[in-house]
Symmetry: C2
Subunit: 479 residues, 2 copies
């Protein structure tokens, strides 16, 4: 009997795929379905190993880059004691990984804790350009006690550069000449506007390795620096990556959790049209892992390509959910809506506070009495077990990543597995998982509207498209 | 020329539907497509008015229930000055509306503000049963300065009752006999375990009107009490509902934003298979409106039914996004992934802090220079305009709800419009938008596993389903 799990390492995280296996007539898989993909998997495996060796997929070996890790640790050790607040200015890949790991590993109400109950400054990750939010933050913070970490690989991200210009002036107005000691720039080691500015202004800098794209950058200084500032053990995170790397580079699909999860998703999507991929951790502190994974999946796999001159639009849509909360929100749809979803649950076996027992009370009220004596974690995991089984009963498949406990080592593992999974999927779909050409048009139209020189044509395009949208509509109403 | 907007009231919110109208060959709509639904719309309109008159759809007239509103205000006025913390224990409809309105109307970092900068206690909405979260919250709070608001209409929600038992013991252990002054129960006015318990323990109570289901309950004491505690003007929220009610009960689809938005979604789903409905506010403080709407839509519209004895699974899948942030996450998929989505943007014209100007700097660096002199809000709204147009270029339709400003009045309007829209859609799909039968199975399996008396059969069902899942799998591997 084959075990239903692909364990990553003893007491590491486990992939449980019991609830995708079953009778074909119920829409479940057999081992034969997966074994039939063997040749394709091996081909992709060889391509991935080759790209890994050529440093085209740099995220594979970030845990080996000791100079980079030392540099982050040294800077965090120097700066953390000097500040009350760390503000990260970054968007997309420059924010989502940091948010996910911060929320996973730091206390739930971290910024509310008194200073002596935290291992570092408060952390504010500003990944949007809403003036109300940024305005109220700057009003609230003491600039003398604040470090601003500006993150953009290209140094030309409009959102981040705008935030930077505002925060820079705020520091200058309040601190005068010494303002530059309050800024740390994380950017490309050599090129880009932000690198140039950092040199001009004498800002402290950290490098984003040239071979790493934004959505794969959480274990570069992009994520490692702010995380280290809050006291997270970044070496333990990277040790988790190293442990995951051992299994995620194995050729055998049954032993490689990234390939196994990837091929399961691929088969359900290709053969049964399950295009909606729900990620549903049963843990508050893993909620933002879904946000991070949404970017990783959507940007990597949502791609247009041509087959014999015909445009094809491809890519699964990631969906964010949280257990048990979403049992009272999205579950109705998952159970009775279209059979177009596959679920990735994340389960935690042991809670970091050793759980809470529900006290016995009201023992004559049968609808309440049964709860007493169980723990809250037991209820949470029982609900997951029941929900997973109820979904199976309705022929909806799921996999589960099971954490023995949430810690830096297991979080490092999960992130690494999912990164390999997405790159593997990109090769299954025969698209480039590392680019994002679809966001260019919107950027260019924005440049045009904002009056950036060289983008006069984009402005013309906007005007024309808008007026034709209106004209078309007028024509329609006149029919 | 017909105007492209269905305005709700002067300086109220506006529905802009320009970007669903266009050439049929590009997949856009003509007015003829909408007018062709006239008869169906009128039939449903009459049914809705009838149900409204019969109090089957109580949410329509919550703004008229003065006794309820007075009761909430009186209690909030009495309790707010006595506490530092208000903890809401509730899940799904007992939490999502409150979170959405709290985040929309209170300052972004509300709980971090010093007491004299807030109009009420800090607000902690606990809508999950993760023991790590609840444990760390109770460790952090001073029970003497804390009010616990327990919300469950039935009084038998397992998650909320478990939280309640834990919080009750925490108060008793710390405060002794007077603990009951720290609990407010919001539940059915007459029936249910929680009503019974409140009477036994002499807890303060607030009613959830019998004719209102959980996901339509934000403007009952469920939402109104915690919101009033934080100083939000609940009468202004309800005035917004009243204003929206005037247009959302009009028979003319072109004047009724709820019907118009509903019919647009319906036509795209039915005729073009756009089953993924993305809600994407360009405003941090409206982010959680998408969470609230996700429940409203998923539970109301995700339904199984029978046609001539054949099971049909129906329902659009709501997707949460945030602008501009998700331009760096989900947009690639929206642009180049399958054409299976319609977008609801939310735009804010005037920001509450009068916006922030991006300072001019680095005028010789062309990729930065163009930003100076614009405001941050201008950049945000320019990005929305560019993204909407880029999506249109790729034949992806969108509507926009436009806020002149975010305030209690306009938020009341939006919520009301979306509630009517969902109920209208339920009738278009000919399903019951008010029930949620699909979540029952999971609940029963949970009861069985937790040893609730009367659910012994459910426990047997779990064991059998699990062992057959395993057996099936073993059989498969042995092939």
């Amino acid at each position: 009997m084959k075990k239903h799990t692909a364990t990553n390492e003893q007491s590491g995280i486990t992939l449980d795929f019991t609830h995708v296996m079953g009778k074909p007539e119920d829409g479940f898989l057999t081992t034969r379905d997966i074994n039939a993909m063997e040749e394709t998997i091996q081909k992709i495996h060889n391509v991935l190993l080759e790209k890994k060796a050529n440093n085209t997929l740099g995220f594979y070996d970030l845990y080996t880059r000791n100079t980079m890790i030392d540099e982050v640790e040294t800077m965090a050790k120097k700066l953390a004691p000097t500040c009350e607040n760390l503000v990260v200015l970054g968007i997309g890949g420059s924010a989502l990984g940091t948010i996910a790991v911060h929320r996973a590993l730091n206390p739930w109400h971290y910024n509310l804790l008194p200073e002596n109950s935290r291992k570092g400054p408060r952390l504010f990750i500003m990944d949007n350009i809403d003036p109300e939010t940024l305005g109220s933050l700057l009003e609230f913070l003491n600039p003398e006690k604040t470090i601003i970490n500006v993150i953009s690989k290209s140094g030309s991200t409009a959102e981040t550069m705008s935030q930077f210009l505002i925060a820079r002036k705020w520091l200058m107005d309040n601190l005068g000449q010494t303002f530059n000691r309050h800024i740390v720039i994380t950017t490309d080691p050599e090129s880009g506007f932000l690198r140039k500015i950092a040199q001009m202004e004498n800002f402290a800098t950290l490098p984003i390795p040239a071979d790493i794209g934004g959505r794969f950058s959480v274990f570069t200084p992009v994520g490692l620096f702010p995380l280290a500032m809050t006291g997270i053990d970044i070496r333990k995170l990277l040790a988790g990556c190293k442990a995951a790397a051992q299994t995620c580079t194995l050729p055998e699909v049954w032993k490689n959790p990234a390939y196994l999860s990837g091929i399961i998703h691929y088969i359900f999507e290709k053969k049964q049209g399950l295009k909606l991929w729900v990620m549903m951790p049963y843990s508050d502190s893993l909620k933002e892992i879904s946000d991070w994974y949404t970017q990783l999946s959507a940007e990597s796999l949502g791609k247009r390509f041509d087959i014999h001159g015909k445009e094809v639009f491809c890519g699964p849509t990631p969906i964010k959910a949280l257990g048990a909360t979403d049992q009272h929100s999205q579950l109705q749809l998952y159970m009775e809506g279209p059979r177009d979803k596959i679920f990735t649950f994340i389960e935690v076996e042991t809670f970091r506070n050793n759980d809470i027992t529900i006290p016995k009370a009201y023992e004559d009220i049968e609808g309440v009495e049964y709860l007493g004596g169980h723990t809250l974690g037991e209820l949470l995991n029982t609900e997951l077990r029941a929900t997973r089984l109820a979904l199976r009963t309705n022929k909806r498949p799921s996999i589960t990543f099971r954490f023995p406990e949430i810690n830096a080592w297991t979080i490092g593992q999960l992130i690494y597995i999912l990164e390999v999974q997405v790159v593997f999927l990109g090769h299954l779909y025969q698209i480039n998982p590392l680019d994002q050409p679809g966001v260019e048009l919107g950027k260019q139209l924005t440049y045009g509207l904002m009056g950036r020189s060289g983008f006069e044509k984009s402005l013309k395009d906007v005007k024309q498209a808008e007026s034709s949208a209106l004209k078309q509509y007028v024509k329609t109403t006149l029919q």
